[in-house]
């Protein structure tokens, strides 16, 4: 038999002035199952809570209903009080007599009647409450960081410095990402590599970081605190332990004319190569698609010159399994190529280049050692046209968003050009200048005022080549849309920032969500900007949306602190409001018919499949099982299950129907 206690609060005048609290308590006392009902001026005060505690002990209550304010206000208070008195916290419910009754209705008999109704409903519900216990899940305190750009580097270092092991996986032969390719960075114009390289070295030397370069994520299974990741370590063709990074092989390799990815195809590299001199690790890889030995069976020059005999031509990919408790995705972005622009020549004109290529031209470590020379003939361009929003904000080309950083880097490029070619004439075609950030507007003004970069408001319609010049046809919309034609020596397109080509596939592999542009979707744009919907997976950097380095680093530290927060406990404790599939203990039986409608509905992928076997191990049927570590308790599955096999603890079908009946 249930033994329910009801406690009605006056909240001073707040409830008491409109609702006859004593009458409510009296009516409650007459409800079946209620063995104790009182009213009191301030229930949440210490004496108020003591009333409840004493009643639990003395009347051996099996459930408590507090008729007071909104449960959003004091449910934790009263649940704690119950627990202190030895009653399971989840056997306490609140009836909202203040926000939903006394404050919104007149002092009329109906109002007190409504208050009685609200209490009755909760009494019926609480009779069906079951003791629940917070869910504890153990945590593997190792983090996986995917992507070794500045975002991944920052996150890995923050987590490692907090004392937790980190597995950092980078697809390319070196970490560094796009930041390693940049010349100088806005708004301070400090040298990108100078600030990045020390951090790369720190990663390599950090005792808590295990670095896998030239590696990719093969699969990810499990849930928050308990993931299992398989990493594919692609065959480098050398033994990393033996190689000293002397570079003799690279110097001797006869296959030299391969466009260098690091130099955005403006320079060349060999078949055995490190992407750039400051690479971490500074150990080469063999590009098998281009290597003469792999293509023809002859060469092995590199092996002959290697002083340590480090080459391993028959090396195979290695699969490594790691157990991790959290994942940070930091896989970055890609820029659109010039072939994306039909009206600008489909990438046919050598002197129409991307912003990223300009970075390489301006970089001291680039193919021209920092001199601005155009690709076609190596001449110093006298007139350079920069085109902003190239591909961004262009729904006709399928990209409607603003890439956010190009206004800034275009101003930077024009400035760097002017600093290097004093008599040069830089023009920028733009639509809007978006320079919201600390010292950003000032930076753009400097480009215009001090370096006399001519900004022209208008979009370029077409570029064609004539007599060695690139004819750029635009207008100035600030001059009555007058046609402006500029004969340029070099054109730089601020091409759009887009996700990595495999962003979608990676997201699907990890079961995380992405938006229509294939950028990863954070859990909430304002309040959970570094978490993914899937618990235990976090996001940092340009893989989530276009962003610059300061924002990337801030987000990476945010993601890292979430991971560190998660790792600060040994177990995860969660509210037990989770779904369960019904089960009668042995022999295991469930009414679940295995339709897996729940699986399709669950926004968190919390539904797993479980085989029910007989004693001989034969599969009887496959039923749903809720992973309680993942379930967030939304109840969508419950509404969908036709056989009523899945239920939500705390809001069970039985409880909710009882509420309805009591109305």
């Amino acid at each position: 038999m249930p033994r329910i206690g009801v406690f009605i609060c006056h909240c001073g005048e707040n409830i008491g002035a409109t609702v006859d609290a004593a009458a409510v308590a009296k009516a409650a006392g007459e409800l079946p199952g209620v063995v104790h009902a009182v009213d009191y001026k301030y229930m949440c005060s210490d004496p108020g809570q003591n009333l409840i505690k004493e009643a639990i002990r003395e009347k051996k209550l099996t459930g408590v209903v507090v008729g007071a304010c909104s449960p959003r206000m004091h449910e934790p208070t009263f649940r704690r009080a119950c627990a202190e008195a030895g009653l399971n916290a989840f056997l306490c419910e609140m009836a909202n007599l203040r926000e939903h009754c006394s404050w919104v209705h007149e002092k009329l008999p109906e109002t007190t009647e409504k208050a009685i109704d609200l209490v009755r409903v909760m009494v019926e519900k609480v009779k069906r409450n079951r003791p629940l216990f917070p869910i504890n899940v153990p945590i593997t305190k190792t983090a996986l960081v995917l992507g070794g750009g500045i975002a991944g580097i920052q996150a890995a270092l923050d987590i490692a410095n907090a004392g937790h092991p980190v597995v950092l996986v980078e697809r390319e032969a070196s970490i560094g990402g796009h930041m390693a390719q940049l010349s100088e960075t806005f708004p301070t114009l400090d040298c990108s590599q100078c600030i990045l390289t020390p951090r790369m070295v720190e990663v390599a030397q950090h005792p808590n970081i295990r670095l896998y370069t030239y590696s990719e994520l093969e699969s990810l299974e499990g849930f928050i605190g308990n993931f299992k990741a398989v990493i594919r370590k692609k065959a480098r063709g050398i033994d990393e332990a033996t190689c000293t990074g002397c570079g003799a092989c690279i110097q001797k390799c006869p296959t030299k004319k391969i466009p260098s990815e690091f130099n955005a195809h403006l320079g060349h590299r060999t078949a055995i190569y490190v992407p750039f001199p400051q690479a971490v690790p500074n150990k080469p890889v063999i590009d098998r698609a281009h290597c003469t030995y792999y293509r023809t069976g002859k060469c092995k020059l590199c092996e002959r010159v290697c002083p340590t005999k480090a080459l391993r031509y028959d090396q195979e990919d290695l699969l490594v399994e790691v157990a991790v408790g959290a994942v940070v995705v930091a896989t970055g972005y890609e820029v659109k190529g010039t072939d994306f622009f039909p009206e600008y020549g489909y990438g046919r004109y050598k002197d129409v280049i991307t912003g990223l290529q300009f970075e390489r031209l301006a970089s001291a470590s680039g193919p021209t050692l920092g001199a601005i020379r155009r690709p076609s003939d190596g001449q110093v361009p006298e007139t350079v046209v920069f085109i902003a929003c190239a591909g961004s904000r262009d729904p006709a080309k399928g990209l409607h968003y603003c890439s956010k950083i190009c206004c800034m880097y275009t101003a930077k490029h024009a400035m760097l050009y002017k600093h290097k070619v004093h008599h040069g004439r830089p023009y920028v075609f733009y639509m809007d200048i978006r320079a919201g950030g600390k010292m950003y507007e000032e930076f753009v003004r400097r480009a215009i005022e001090e370096d006399q970069v001519s900004y022209i408001r208008g979009r370029v319609s077409r570029i064609y080549e004539k007599n060695g010049k690139l004819i750029v046809k635009g207008v100035d919309t600030l001059l009555n849309s007058r046609p402006v034609e500029i004969a340029a020596d070099l054109v730089v397109l601020a091409t759009a920032m887009v996700p990595q080509p495999d962003a979608e596939a990676l997201a699907q592999k990890m079961k995380i969500s992405y938006d229509g542009d294939r950028f990863l979707n954070e859990a909430h744009p304002k309040l959970r900007p570094v978490e993914m919907n899937t618990a235990g997976i976090f996001v940092a950097g340009a893989c989530q949306a276009p962003k610059d380095i300061p924002e990337t680093v801030a987000q990476a530290s945010g993601a890292a602190s979430k991971v560190i927060g998660l790792f600060s406990k040994d177990e995860l404790s969660r509210e037990p409001v989770v779904a369960v599939v019904n089960r009668t203990a042995p022999p295991l039986f469930s009414t679940c018919v295995g339709c897996f409608l729940c699986e399709t509905a669950c926004p968190y992928q919390a539904i797993e499949r479980e085989e029910i076997k007989d004693r001989n191990g034969n599969v009887l049927k496959t039923v749903a099982r809720v992973n309680q570590g993942v379930c967030q308790g939304c109840g969508t599955c419950v509404a969908l299950c036709r056989s009523k096999s899945i239920d939500l603890q705390g809001f069970t079908n039985e409880q909710v129907f009882a509420e309805l009946v009591a109305l």
Binding site: P342, E343, G345, Y346, R348, R462, Y464, K466
Partner: protein, 293 residues
């Protein structure tokens, strides 16, 4: 192969030689052209500038007649007409209510079964035949001019790269010519303003002729009577406007193909041009050209 044929108004008069050369070339490429019985004018820019319904109804009548005659494809050599007919077909197929309204205006049923194709589409398919039969390869540098309607709008063009189309280039190359890379192949020549604003045309067409000439073209190649009028017939206005004279003939692509196939200048109507079709002595002079290979 049998094709429905819609010459359009100008091929009956000012662009006779386009018609003549097309008719002359067709049999050599195994094309049988069957004129649509009782076709009418497409209404051109005038109709869609003044009356939206008429701009659909006029082309629709011809399309319906072609459909009734059972053609799979309707060849429309004038690219302006091509654009009007193809756009009408597109619009009527996309909008059932409109289709019904227009069929009742034209008193003919129309379901859109006949595809509209251009000369460039058809010659493009015949390129291997042209290559095989080119007895007098046209060994000259040419600038292929597409104008507006072969490459725009995106919903109608059959060019794979509308900002830098290569389809005409492939055809002239199969006839032995060397197509040039130049800047104005898809720029507008002034089309329908030819009569009402000749000065405008002199400026627009002038830029086209000038760029082709400056890049060393020996001929301009077109596939549209309007383009031809503006680049050939309006040449005096162009030359007055720019103060330069250009000895750059303008050939219909069918004429160029015809020359390569060994047809006579007269059969191809070259004598009807305003700018004389004469070439500096070179690798090959048309018609009289010695057999090269």
């Amino acid at each position: 192969m049998k094709l429905g044929y819609f010459p359009g108004c100008s091929l009956e008069s000012s662009a006779r030689e386009y018609n003549e050369s097309l008719q002359a070339v067709a049999p050599l490429l195994d094309l049988e052209l069957c004129e649509v019985p009782d076709w009418n004018c497409c209404g051109a820019t005038a109709a869609h500038s003044l009356n939206h319904k008429l701009a659909l109804a006029l082309p629709a009548r011809t399309l319906a007649l072609a459909e009734r005659a059972g053609f799979d494809e309707l060849l429309v050599p004038c690219s302006a007409c091509y654009s009007r007919l193809a756009a009408t077909r597109r619009d009527l197929l996309a909008n059932e209510a409109l289709r019904q309204e227009i069929t009742s205006i034209i008193e003919l049923d129309y379901v859109g079964s006949t595809k509209v194709v251009s000369v460039v589409d058809v010659l493009g398919r015949a390129a291997p035949t042209i290559r095989a039969k080119a007895s007098v390869p046209f060994l000259r540098k040419v600038a292929c001019y597409y104008g507006c309607y072969l490459t725009r709008p995106a919903s109608l063009t059959t060019c794979a790269r509308p900002e830098d189309p290569q389809e005409m280039e492939a055809i002239v190359a199969s006839a032995g010519a060397t197509p040039l890379d130049w800047a104005f192949k898809i720029d507008c020549c002034g089309a329908a303003l030819s009569v009402s604003r000749t000065a405008t045309v002199a400026e627009l067409a002038g830029r086209i002729v000038a760029d082709a000439a400056e890049r060393g073209a020996e001929a301009l190649v077109v596939a549209c009577p309007l383009c031809h009028t503006n680049l050939d017939l309006r040449r005096p206005a162009i030359e007055r406007h720019r103060g330069v004279s250009y000895a750059l003939p303008v050939l219909y692509i069918t004429q160029l193909v015809g020359l390569a196939l060994g047809l006579s200048e007269r059969a191809l109507g070259l004598h009807r041009h305003h700018v004389p079709v004469r070439f500096a002595p070179g690798a090959a002079a048309p018609a009289a050209a010695p057999k090269e290979n």
